[in-house]
Symmetry: C2
Subunit: 216 residues, 2 copies
Amino acid sequence: MYSLSEENYLKAIYHLQGETGEAVSTNAIADRMETKASSVTDMIKKLSEKTLVTYVKYQGVHLTEEGRLAALKVIRKHRLWEVFLVEKLQFTWDQVHAIAEQLEHIQSEQLIDRLNTFLGDPKFDPHGDPIPDKDGNFSEHHNKVLADLTDDDKGVCVGVKESDDQFLQYLNRHKIGIGSQITVLDKEEYDGSMLIQIAGKELFISGEIANNIYIN
Amino acid sequence: MYSLSEENYLKAIYHLQGETGEAVSTNAIADRMETKASSVTDMIKKLSEKTLVTYVKYQGVHLTEEGRLAALKVIRKHRLWEVFLVEKLQFTWDQVHAIAEQLEHIQSEQLIDRLNTFLGDPKFDPHGDPIPDKDGNFSEHHNKVLADLTDDDKGVCVGVKESDDQFLQYLNRHKIGIGSQITVLDKEEYDGSMLIQIAGKELFISGEIANNIYIN
DNA sequence: TAAGTTTTTTAGTCTTATCTAAAAAATATT
DNA sequence: AATATTTTTTAGATAAGACTAAAAAACTTA
């Protein structure tokens, strides 16, 4: 199949290109992967020869359908392993990313099929991100965030928009996780900050945080 | 830690050096790893600089204690993952080796600790090979084989000496697995071949096969 | 022990994926 | 529009790990 490095580039490009499929710049890829632009150019040429991306010099890259599906396979593996780590091995949601970054490169269709079955064919990972199925289709992503609620509204946390460790650890400390019931007590319309009720306690959060928590 | 390639060399040397810790030749390593002797020489020098092996030109290598422990860590991971694949994902014992070869290189102490707990701290892998603990200690290996039994003796299969796919698939076809009750009906002393009772049926096996099945 | 064979090492090359430094193209600024 | 700045690409180098071919050392065997 594809090399570890190729898979990582495909994944990065997938995440950067967004819903709309805009062109992804060399520098954007270099930043995300913590590598140099010249390395990115090299790899892009390689991916382009393998018809995983379309590439016009100085104009960035787009994933081809083949490339998109390859990226989704890696993402599927990553998210299934995250479910495994949290549900079966009792890791917390801020601990699983680094390990899943390794596990996502294990090559075996059968392994992933069986892991999927073992986990009960889950639709979302521990951060609430949707898990693509074998063919690269996935349930629609959540779109309502805590910031959309107003005074006295209630919601259940179903995921997070950003999932860097700092943020997840903050949520852990305040007992916010998937399934948590949240009530908005007092929202400050000026900056979106709000006082909420969570796990029996009151907590004041910034608008930025409220915007990163998906709610249903 | 160590690179994937280094880990594979350490594992190969460990398996080749046997109980006694004899010197392992360059060619033996090359054969086992399906690579060229010149590549082995290169890697040996590298491992030697890292004090994982002792090496004298033209005289083969020995693992140092540090190297032995590093090899055992990889073997521990390999065997724990094999247990996972068989017990949790319903793979058969001939299917797990190739996948475990990949999984054994995942780096995370915590992952292995938790996997070990999740699996109930198993002492043997699906082929009956002992699983080293965190510190590299393991239960004594089985030593009685089916070939040691004689007419009317009974035993339970607890492992296999060789575990190549062909052999394991042969055992699968004849419903021989760990825990199988075996009775020797008629042993031919000349070549060690024997007629046995297994899974309610009679089966004739060669002395070579009888010598590869561990019994308790 | 001298010749022949096998094993092991050396020397040099290749591939993958990086990097730095410099050149080229695109974009922004006055 | 000309100049300055940023982005991207090219050119050349490096490191890991493998390879081939040839040299060197170690062993067989007569």
